[in-house]
Assembly symmetry: C2
Homo-oligomer: 587 residues x 2
C-alpha cells in the first residue's frame, strides 16, 4: 500500500527549528523524519523509520555475507561484567548508571564487549567451535556531556556492533579483514563517501584499528591524508622523529636574565634583539621548549600532575592528548596545583635549575616529565630556568636534561610529513561512521574466555570489535545529500522508491496518480503518494523537494494531453512522458 | 542461504537448566533460543531472533491493515511528562529511574502514553488531522519485584504499543474496535489460543478495557467465564448484588459472651452450640461479618488504615483489592496500627459497640469502613462487638450499622453467578498477551492535547491504548506447543520453514541435503540444515525435535533407494518420499 500524505503522520516545517544547528538536523526535523524527545533523544516518525529500516537491511545482508550471525542483548545490564574489565569506572560520566529496587547496580550499555565475551564463554569451549562472528543492531546509550547536532551525537542511538572470536592472531586478522570488506560494501551500497583512516599509532601492527570517516566540514574528527595514500585519524598520527644530533662540541648552556618574557612570543623577540643567533637566522618559537603543566584525572578521581615539553611553535592537541592519556581525563593545572609546587615558576618552567633536574620523577618536583618526539637527543632549546625572568639558552636534550618518556600529543599541521614517508599531510574533517578494531585478548583475559586447543590445552581467545553507527549514518547521508530545497536521498536509503504528486483539482488527476501508485507497488516498488485534495501544487512540490525521494512523478495539468512529468530530484530535470510509459520508465 | 548447524551459534542442552521452572523457559534455553543475561534480562540467540522477527512481521502487517502507523520512541525518557500525569510517582518501585551527569531525572519507559500524547500535540492541531493511530515495537522496562518464568515476566521485554487519537467518543470506539479486530487476526495467525476478557468492572460502558488471555495452567491471571459467554479478568468481575431485605420485624441485635471465639470457625461452632438458629438450619461462616483491617500505602508513602467488612466465608482477593485500591499498595495492618487504635480488639472487631459506630469516618476510630456488595440493607450478621470475647448477633445492615462505601474485593468462586445473568462462573488461569483500553481524555487533559473542532473551538482529544507482549508471546507459544522431546512451533512463527537432517557418513547424503536446501531457499522457503559431519544421527534427531521446526526432512539411509523421509514434528509421522518429489511436497 502506498504511503498517502492525506493520512501520513507528518507535518513538514517551512522554517528551520531553533533547536537545530547543522543542516542534517534541520532538514530531518523540517521534513518530518524525527522529533526531539529530550536532550540527545529522538523519536522516529514513519518516514525516518523507513530510512532506518533500509540501512539496517543493507547492514544485515552484508553481515550475513561476511558470515556474521545476529543476536540481541539487553541494553540494561548488570554492573559485574563491566567491573571485571574496569569499564564500569573507566567510562566515567559517559555511562548511564542506575540501581534496581534491590539497590543492585546496572548500566545502560554503550557497547557490549563484555556481554559478547561472556556469551561465547557460556556456549563454546573448543577451538572447533571457532571462529565465530556475532553482531547485533541495537540501541546504545552514552551520557554525552554535550549532545549535539541531532542524530550525530545523541544519548540514545542505534549501532551495529559485531565481535569476532578466534584462537589465533591469523584468524583475527582474517575476521578483521572480512568485516572491513563488509564495511566497504555497506558504505558503497548506501552511497556514502568514506575514508579509512588508521585509528591508533600502529603499535600492534598498523591494522589493529581503523576508522571509517565520512568527510564533512561539520565532522568532529580531524584526519590527515598524504599524496601517497596514508590516512589516519589525527589521534593516530605518529610524528616523524628527527635524527639525533651529536652533542659533542655544542655550546654550554647559559642562563640569561630575560625580563618580562613569560610567554613564547616575548622570549623569541627578546632573544632576537638581545642574544641573536650566530648563524644569521632568526630565533623562532620552534627553538623554544614549552613546558605544559597538565593534570590527569583518573576514572577513580585520582589527580596526577604531568609536564609535557614540546617545541614552542606547537600547541597540545586535546584529542591526541586524550587518546594518549586515556582513560584519564585532562585538565589544566590550577592555582592549587602551582601552590603545592613552588618550584614551578609560571612562565619560566624548565627541566633544570642550576644544573639540577626540576621536572621528572627523579627531579625536585617529582612530577612526571614527558617530551614531544621532536625533542631528540642533541637538540638545543631555549627554556625557562625555573627562576622568575630567567631563561636558559642552549639547553641540550640528553646532555642537560632527560625525561621520563615520550608522548606524541602536539598538534598535527598541514605540511607535516606522513609517518610512512608518503609525503606532506593535508588535514580534513570527517564524521566517524564505522570502526574496526582488533581488541586482542584483553576482554577474553578479563572474563576468562578460554577454549581447548588441538592439544587439549586451554588457550585464551582473541577478539575483534566492529561498529557502525546506524542512526548517525542517516545524519551523515543527509549532510551529504541535500540542496537548499531539502533532502535528496540516495536510492538505497530513500523512504520510498517513487514519490507521486497529484497536483490539481480534477478528480482524474487523483485517479491517475492512484492507479500509477498501485501499479508501481504491484511491481515491488514502494511509493509515497501526495493525494491531499485541498493542498496547493506549490505546497506539494515544496514538500516533495523537502522530503527528498529522488524519483518524483507529477500527475497534473499535463494529464489532459496524456502526460505526466518525471522529476529528477537531484538534477532538477523535469520531462513529460506519456502516462502509459511512466510505469516502464520508473521500474 | 540456509542456516547451517555446522556453524550456527547454538549449543543445545540435554538437561533442564537449574534457573528455569516453567516449561517454556526450560525449552527455550535448552533449544538455544535465549540465554540469561541478568535477573529478568535475556539475550536473543539467532534462532530466538528468527522467531521474534516472524511475530513482529505479523504484528506490523496487521497494524498496517488496521491503519496504524509505526513510529519509535526512546526508551530513556525525561521525568517531566511522567510527572505531569502522576505516573513518575504512581509507578512506585516498578519504574527504573536514573539521573544523567547533570543530575536530571530520567526513566526507562514501561509504556509511552505520555510521549505519544506529546508527539501528537507537537505535530497536530486540528480535528482534520484526526483520527490517527500510532504504534511502535520497542523494548520496555519494568523493575519487577520477582522476575520469573523467563520471558513471561522479565525486566526488559518487547511490546507493541499502539495509541489512538480521536475527537469524539464514537471515533474512539471505532479505533478500539479496529485494534481489537487486528488483535484477533494477529493471535489467529500466530496460532495462539486466546480468550477476550473484560478487564474492568465496566464503569465506562463495558468495553472500555479488555484483555486477551491465553489459557494456561501457569498463567498469573485468573479469569472467569460463564456458559452464556461472559468472560472477565478476576479483577473485573462485578459481584451480583442480592436484593435488599426489609428491616421491619427483624429481631433486635444482641451482644453475647463468646469465650475464645477470636476466629470465624470458632464463633460458628460456638453459635451452633450455644445460640442455634431458630429456623432449624446451621450457622455458617457466611452468616458472620468479617472485618479486615488493611493498610493502604500511597505512591507518596502515605499510610491509611481501612476496614473492609465481608461475609466470613470469603477471603479478600489480593489482585481484586490491588485493582480496587490502585495506585495504593496494600499491606496487612501491623502491631503498630493496632496500638494506635485501642478501640480495635483483634478477633472481635465490628462496626458498632453499645450502639455507637466504631468503624467508619464518623465512628470512634475514624477509620474508613467499606462493605462487600453482598452486605446489603436488611442483611443480619454475627459480628465482633469490639470487646474481648463478645459478639453481637442479628446486627442488621442499614439499621444497626452503616459504612463509608462499597468495595468489591472478595474472592470470586466457581459457581458464582455471572454479572450479566449468563450463568454460573468457572475459573481458569491465563497469561495476558494483549490489552485494549479506552483511556479516554486522562492523558490528553494532563498534557494539554487539544485540537480545534469544526467550530474553531478547542476540544480535548480522546485516546485508546493497545498493547501486545511480543517477547512474552514467544513464551506463550512455547508453553502451548511442545511435547516431552522439545518445541513444536506453529508454522507462522517457526525459525525456519523446513529443517533438513543430513544423517549418515556418506558424502552423497550431505550433497543431497545441501541440494534440497538450496532448492527450497530458491523457492522462498527458509531452511535449517543440519550438516554436521561428526555428529551421530541420534543426536541430530534429538536436536531436530528440541528445536521444533514442524517440517523435518531426513536425508539418510533411504537415499540409496532414492528416498528421503518427511517427518511431521507435531504428529510424529514419518514417511518416505522420492528425492525428486520432496521439493514439491514441501512447498
Amino acid at each position: 500500500m502506498p504511503i498517502r500524505l492525506s493520512n501520513l503522520f507528518l507535518r513538514t516545517l517551512r522554517e528551520d527549528p531553533n533547536e537545530a544547528e547543522v543542516t542534517s538536523h534541520k532538514l530531518l526535523l523540517r521534513a518530518g523524519y524525527i522529533r526531539r524527545a529530550g536532550s540527545g533523544l529522538y523519536t522516529w516518525l514513519p518516514l525516518g523509520l523507513a530510512v532506518k529500516a533500509k540501512i539496517e537491511k543493507v547492514v544485515r545482508e552484508e553481515m550475513a555475507t561476511a558470515g556474521a550471525q545476529e543476536v540481541f542483548f539487553p541494553a540494561l545490564l548488570p554492573r559485574e561484567p563491566f567491573e571485571a574489565t574496569g569499564r564500569w569506572t573507566e567510562y566515567g560520566d559517559n555511562l548511564f548508571r542506575l540501581q534496581d529496587r534491590k539497590k543492585a547496580d546496572y548500566l545502560l550499555a554503550p557497547t557490549h564487549e563484555e556481554m559478547f565475551t561472556l556469551l561465547v564463554k557460556d556456549l563454546y569451549s573448543s577451538y572447533k567451535d571457532l571462529p565465530v562472528c556475532l553482531y547485533q543492531i541495537q540501541n546504545k546509550y552514552r551520557d554525552e556531556a554535550r549532545p549535539r547536532a541531532g542524530l550525530l551525537r545523541g544519548r540514545e542511538f542505534v549501532m551495529k556492533d559485531a565481535y569476532s572470536f578466534d584462537v589465533t592472531d591469523e584468524g583475527l586478522a582474517k575476521a578483521y579483514q572480512a568485516q572491513r570488506d563488509a564495511y566497504e560494501r555497506i558504505f558503497t551500497r548506501l552511497g556514502v563517501e568514506y575514508v579509512i583512516v588508521k585509528a591508533d599509532a600502529g603499535a600492534m601492527g598498523g591494522s589493529a584499528s581503523e576508522e571509517f570517516l565520512s568527510p564533512s566540514p561539520i565532522g568532529e574528527d580531524t584526519f590527515v591524508r598524504s599524496p601517497g595514500g596514508y590516512a589516519a585519524n589525527v589521534e593516530a598520527v605518529a610524528t616523524v622523529v628527527p635524527p639525533k644530533i651529536s652533542i659533542d662540541g655544542q655550546a654550554v648552556a647559559e642562563v640569561l636574565l630575560t625580563p618580562a618574557c613569560s610567554n613564547i612570543k616575548r622570549i623569541v623577540a627578546w632573544s632576537n634583539e638581545n642574544n641573536p643567533r650566530t648563524d644569521g637566522t632568526e630565533w623562532s618559537a620552534a627553538h623554544t621548549l614549552k613546558n605544559n603543566v597538565m593534570a590527569l584525572v583518573s576514572p577513580e578521581g585520582k589527580r596526577e600532575l604531568v609536564v609535557v615539553g614540546l617545541p614552542g611553535d606547537r600547541e597540545v592537541d586535546v584529542k591526541r592528548a586524550e587518546a594518549a592519556f586515556s582513560p584519564n581525563e585532562i585538565e589544566q593545572a590550577n592555582e592549587e596545583d602551582f601552590k603545592q609546587h613552588p618550584e614551578l615558576i609560571k612562565g619560566y618552567i624548565g627541566p633544570v635549575k642550576d644544573g639540577q633536574a626540576v621536572l621528572g620523577l627523579t627531579g625536585v618536583s617529582k612530577i612526571r616529565y614527558l617530551l614531544d618526539p621532536r625533542v631528540v637527543e642533541g637538540t638545543a632549546w631555549i627554556s625557562g630556568a625555573n627562576e622568575s625572568e630567567k631563561h636558559v639558552f642552549g639547553l641540550v636534550a640528553g646532555r642537560d636534561f632527560n625525561a621520563d618518556g615520550v608522548v606524541d600529543i602536539a598538534e598535527v599541521r598541514a605540511g607535516d610529513q606522513a609517518p610512512d614517508g608518503s609525503g606532506p599531510l593535508e588535514l580534513a574533517r570527517g564524521i566517524e561512521i564505522g570502526h574496526v578494531f582488533q581488541l586482542g585478548r584483553k576482554y577474553a583475559e578479563a572474563l576468562g574466555l578460554q577454549v581447548l586447543d588441538e592439544n587439549g590445552k586451554l588457550v585464551t581467545v582473541t577478539m575483534g570489535s566492529y561498529g557502525i553507527g546506524i542512526t548517525r549514518m542517516i545524519a551523515v547521508l543527509s549532510e551529504a545529500n541535500h540542496d537548499d530545497k531539502g533532502l535528496i536521498w540516495p536510492e538505497a536509503v530513500s523512504p520510498a522508491d517513487v514519490y507521486i504528486v497529484a497536483a490539481g483539482k480534477d478528480e482524474a488527476v487523483y485517479e491517475a496518480a492512484e492507479k500509477l501508485a498501485l501499479e508501481l507497488e504491484a511491481k515491488g516498488k514502494t511509493v509515497i503518494l501526495d493525494d491531499r485534495q485541498k493542498v496547493s501544487p506549490g505546497v506539494k512540490f515544496g514538500d516533495a523537494e523537502l522530503i527528498g525521494v529522488p524519483n518524483i512523478v507529477i500527475v497534473g495539468k499535463g494529464l489532459e494531453q496524456g502526460d505526466v512529468d518525471l522529476w529528477d530530484r537531484r538534477s532538477g530535470e523535469r520531462r513529460p512522458v506519456k502516462v502509459e510509459s511512466a510505469l516502464a520508465e520508473l521500474l
